[in-house]
Amino acid sequence: MSTELGHFALILALATAIMQSILPMVGAARSDTRLMNVAPMAAVTCFALVLLSFAALTQAYLTSDFSVLNVFENSHSLKPTLYKFTGVWGNHEGSMLLWILILAFFGALVAVFGNNLPPTLKANVIGVQGWILVAFLLFIIFTSNPFIRISPPPFEGQDLNPILQDIGLAIHPPLLYLGYVGFSISFSFAIAALIEGKIDAAWARWVRPWTLTAWMFLTAGISMGSYWAYYELGWGGWWFWDPVENASFMPWLLGTALLHSALVMEKREALKIWTVLLAIMAFSLSLLGTFLVRSGVLTSVHAFATDPTRGVFILMILCVFIGGALTLFALRASSLRAGGIFAPISREGALVLNNLFLTTATMTVFVGTLYPLFLEVISEEKISVGAPFFNLTFGPLMVPLLLAIPIGPLLSWKRGDLLGAMQRLYVAILGGFAVALIVIYVQTGAPILAAVGIGIGIYLIIGSMAELWMRAGLGRMAFSKSLGRLKGLPRSIYGTAMAHFGVGVTVIGIVAVSAFSSEDIVAMQPKDQIEAGGKTIIFEGIENAQGPNYQVQIGHFTIMEAGREIGKTTSEKRFYPARQMPTTEAGIVTYGASQLYVSLGDPQANGGLVVRIWYKSWVTFIWYGTVFMVLGAIISLSDRRLRVGAPAARKTKATAQQGASA
């Protein structure tokens, strides 16, 4: 019964979305307030309906209602309750429903918090959100309906892919979708601005918190996914340049560019056309990511060809929205007036450089991800584009970008003093240089590149604080006075410093783990021992056990240091009979920033067991860095000037001008 209720709510949501997509925009065109006022009501109603629908599916999962095809195919009555719940989005249909739920959620947020927007802009933004909702609701209802029943209902379900039965993967998709779908707001704002043919600094200020929110969730989602792959896949890699990862990385790169260009637009009214284009492209790449992951085209062009309904449908959505948006852009962009002029060496110039490199990096990932598909379609030739390609092309693009990060905030708007900025960064530059030398000295034989990489990381960490240091006038006046100035700085400056600091931390983690880790692959008998990272690991033996819905072999290890036991760890190999699939649960112990990583291999003929032991130097820095980035975003979002629903248009304009003249 509740399943039918959910199904019906979904159809009603479609009807509401159609209303939301048409009436407010007609109202905006005719300046009809009554029609425009439909927008917030429709957006909130639509969210409530999709939420109801999602709740119904969740209930079917929690009660293991196998008369629902989707539940039968992806759940099992013995599955732990947590995974019954997260299993709702651990499959195609359910994850699309979550996608739509979040889309409707963002629409409702604009409806509730968008009171400071000009009425026509608000109506148009919610209207464009309505179009996206209609497209995806049609998609789910006609090609991916999660509420289909089967009769007679089977007694037991087919279980969720065991790799997905993990808390990391449970949190990862909602975060990622909050990011992906969050960019739909920037997109809707861009389209609304193009429709109205009016765009100014206030627009950038409205868009920035939404972009920042989406970026924050996407950062957290990608980081979470990376950590999940690290501990779950069993060989300790943290980034694979897999097409699925690239699909989420591209919107992140472009979203980062958008954050920075919107800043220029807000402060200086420059880069308007470019910012609008970025807003369109960031969401387009989110749509592309959805298409790549959901259509099966990545597994194989042929898998796509055998069941093309879903793929073709999303491809159509993709073409309509990206094509439509770009056509509108081509028609209207010239009517947008360009703003302030600036010299190449200036804060604006630095942000243009940031955009240039981030966009090129995005295009590199884009071409690398799609080129094999393209080549296969036109010439039947199959090639692979993997990690070595991306490391070789993407890596060098990051170096100038990273070097520019601390310099940008020290340049003034309009016309900056590069030499002056570099002079103010001398602590950071010297610090980075000194640490690089120390690395070479301590780790004799360490690759020079690794030393340079660590040096850049240190330079970023110190350099990210330079703006705070300068603005507070530390060292130039009494300490207490500096402290007072430090307190008075806008939070967004702290946010920027924190996020850039995080980039430095991540860089150090990436370089250290690839350069200084140790790896041992050995066949061990019980009581055998091995050295790794200055510790002795003793293999205690293997034990067979039974989990709730899996069988498991548990390897027990004792860790000694200087003849003293400092800890124990277990590493597991599980087997899930329902899906006939094995998984690994590596044994991971953290020491400071580094981790000991123990993974079980196959049994040997002589009764031994293959054990792989890594000592991953400073590996956690990779994810700590992203935590700083997310914190930076949160701090920025808490800035009164950016807070959603804060100052009215007039006031924001005034502060924007102040900011520009500051």
């Binding site: 069993g234 007036r337 584009v385 390609f389």
Partner: protein, 153 residues
């Protein structure tokens, strides 16, 4: 060809998502230098039946065979390039995770530089010659109000 492809797809599905265990102790060469070279080569070779895994990361039987093959060639005295050429001659370009610099991959390889160049040029030209319209940018509504106030005085 079709038959090869279908069996290939079947293989992909069989091995998809199986956790990887990579190199086994009995494969490791005595000569540490040769072993290090083998690892470098392996990282650039694709496990043909896996999704985007190198043979160094994969525990599939085929990956193991390839690892052993690479090591055998190295022991026989091949250079890294000779080993890779040999593997490509047997398995085709698909085996390379780093595509070759050939005519068909030209665009792939030059794309980053091309984008950077075009983007850089565009930005440079735009910065040098800002659109003429902005030179005489019209008054904003605030400015108009202010002007009106002044004029009305």
């Amino acid at each position: 060809m079709i038959k090869v492809l279908t069996s290939f797809i079947a293989l992909i599905f069989l091995t998809l998502s199986v956790p990887a265990f990579a190199v086994n102790p009995d494969e490791i060469l005595e000569d540490a230098e040769l072993e290090a070279r083998a690892r470098v080569i392996s990282a650039d070779l694709r496990c043909l039946v896996c999704q985007n895994q190198s043979i160094d990361d994969s525990d599939a039987d085929l990956a193991r065979d390839l690892r052993v093959l690479v090591r055998n060639r190295l022991v026989e005295g091949d250079t890294n390039k000779q080993v890779i050429d040999y593997v490509v001659s047997r398995y085709g370009d698909f085996v390379l995770l780093k595509p070759s610099f050939s005519a068909k991959n030209l665009f792939l390889w030059i794309a980053p530089a091309l984008f950077l160049l075009i983007g850089g040029l565009l930005a440079f030209v735009k910065l040098r010659n800002p659109d003429h319209e902005k030179v005489s940018s019209p008054l904003s509504s605030d400015e108009k109000d202010k002007l009106k106030q002044i004029l009305d005085q």
